[in-house]
């Protein structure tokens, strides 16, 4: 039996092994991914992003618990977490420490937490993250949380990947000019002001509200698409994740957002956008590989030599390399 079949039957060890194969892009892993793809498209993918130390992992820990133990009358959901931490640019190694805060759910067979290193990708998630999401989706996890590396202003890749993006802020991180800069706040569907018991929480909330008031989303953040017909205004919610305060409100906001996505047609649009982005990434990598195969290393190094000695500009070098391909 292939790993993919075992995964579909609910085998957790097979799931863990397949995630590794997919992360390492082995031919076996990629083949299994093809087999799983028809089973995907059911999960609600929630991105959790924000600056380092704002409490993303603690929030995710509470959210898992809330989705596993919902209020009376609601179904518990199967929850997967992909927690991304940065790889060292020097050694390629990584410390993956998000599990430290996610221990309230230990021993629950319907929770699966996987730590993963960014492996050089700069968008806040790893190149393989979208594929790992697909594996969890096919394995029947209904809620998939993707926690990005501690992100600043430009790590907006998560907006392409998730249905719902939660941006986690904390008091004292910056003044109101930070709030009106471009970037991470623009991709928020839900803004969580964590550590709300700290001083300056009121100031932080005021700055965020001011930013939201000014913001009228003209178009979709990751593409040039026109804005959705129904406007979604990101709520600002206060939490103290370490104590579990304000968590149910975040859960409610996730459900509200999902309802909005489904009734506005935005769910399909995001699905399309997500798969389109994935295809583009694959195309880029494949074209790059094909290019490298057609140009001999000697030719390539020769062009680089000319570049270094300033005989060619980068654009002229590009033309020479592309001409080599056309020929």
């Amino acid at each position: 039996m292939s790993l993919a079949e075992s995964v579909l039957q609910g085998n957790r060890l097979a799931l863990a092994r397949l995630l590794t194969q997919v992360e390492n892009e082995t031919s076996q892993g990629l083949e299994d991914l093809n087999r799983l793809f028809p089973h995907t498209g059911k999960a609600h993918i929630v991105g959790v992003t924000g600056a380092p130390g704002t409490g993303k992992s603690s929030l995710v820990n509470q959210l898992i618990t809330a989705f596993r133990h919902p209020p009376e009358g609601q179904q518990p959901r199967r929850v997967a977490v992909i927690a991304v931490d940065p790889s060292s640019p020097f050694s390629g190694g990584a410390i993956l420490g998000d599990r430290v805060r996610m221990r309230d759910v230990a021993g629950d067979a319907d929770v699966f937490i996987r730590s993963t290193a960014s492996r050089g990708a700069l968008g806040g998630v790893a190149a393989s993250t979208a594929n790992l999401v697909q594996v969890f989706d096919a394995a029947g996890f209904e809620m998939i949380f993707v926690e990005t590396v501690g992100a600043g202003q430009a790590e907006v890749e998560i907006a392409r990947l998730a249905h719902t993006v939660i941006v986690v802020e904390a008091p004292g991180l910056g003044d109101d000019i930070q709030a009106i800069k471009a970037g991470i706040l623009e991709i928020a569907d839900i803004i969580v002001l964590n550590k709300a018991d700290r001083p300056l929480a009121d100031n932080a909330e005021r700055a965020l509200r001011m930013m939201l008031e000014l913001a009228t989303r003209k178009s979709n953040p990751a593409t040039d698409e026109s804005p959705p017909l129904l406007e979604w205004r990101p709520p600002i919610l206060r939490t103290v994740a370490t104590e579990g305060r304000g968590i149910q409100e975040v859960v409610d906001a996730i459900w509200h957002h999902r309802h909005f996505l489904e009734t506005s047609g935005e769910w399909e649009r995001r699905e399309r956008r997500r798969l389109c982005a994935e295809l583009e990434n694959l195309l880029q990598a494949a074209l790059m590989k094909r290019l490298q195969e057609t140009i001999s290393p000697e030719t390539y190094q020769g062009v680089v030599d000319d570049l270094v000695s300033r005989q060619l500009s980068p654009r002229q070098a590009l033309e020479i390399l592309l001409d080599g391909v056309k020929r």
Binding site: S88, S91, R114, R119
Partner: protein
């Protein structure tokens, strides 16, 4: 992009609260190019085995300073075997009396490290245990 990384779980089972050594080792393994999952203090053997499964690690490093190693280590090993992860290499570090070392190795532990161990030695042993050629980093 698609290169394989050695994945290591560093865990502290039991009740002792001193994780400096575990953190030093975690950092050294990171600098040797490994992906190190750090789980923090006071883990039960069940939590460690479960984390090892979800993370599909090649290696587990258990840091134990409490003296409870003869109870905790076999429990972790048993759980790993029961869930089909007998292939995972288990190392133990901390305060381990000399007479206990052969017994731990007999149980299936791959290496035992006391105070003063060079991290270089641990890195070398991990590479040997997972069957990957060891290449020291260029200075």
């Amino acid at each position: 992009m698609s290169e394989r990384k050695i994945r290591v779980l560093i865990a502290k089972p039991g009740l002792d609260g001193h994780d400096r050594g575990a953190k030093v080792v975690a950092r050294a393994l990171r600098d040797a190019g490994m992906e190190v999952i750090y789980t923090g203090l006071r883990q039960t053997p069940e939590m460690i085995a479960e984390a090892a499964l979800q993370e599909d690690v090649d290696v587990i490093g258990l840091s134990i300073l409490s003296g409870a190693h003869m109870a905790l280590v076999p429990r972790v090993l048993d759980l790993l075997r029961a869930q089909g992860q007998a292939n995972v290499k288990v190392f133990v570090g901390g305060i381990i009396p000399d007479e206990d070392i052969p017994r731990l190795l007999e149980m299936g532990v791959v290496g035992v490290y006391g105070p003063g161990t060079l991290t270089e030695q641990i890195i070398k042993d991990i590479h040997a245990a997972v069957g990957e050629p060891y290449q020291p980093a260029h200075p």
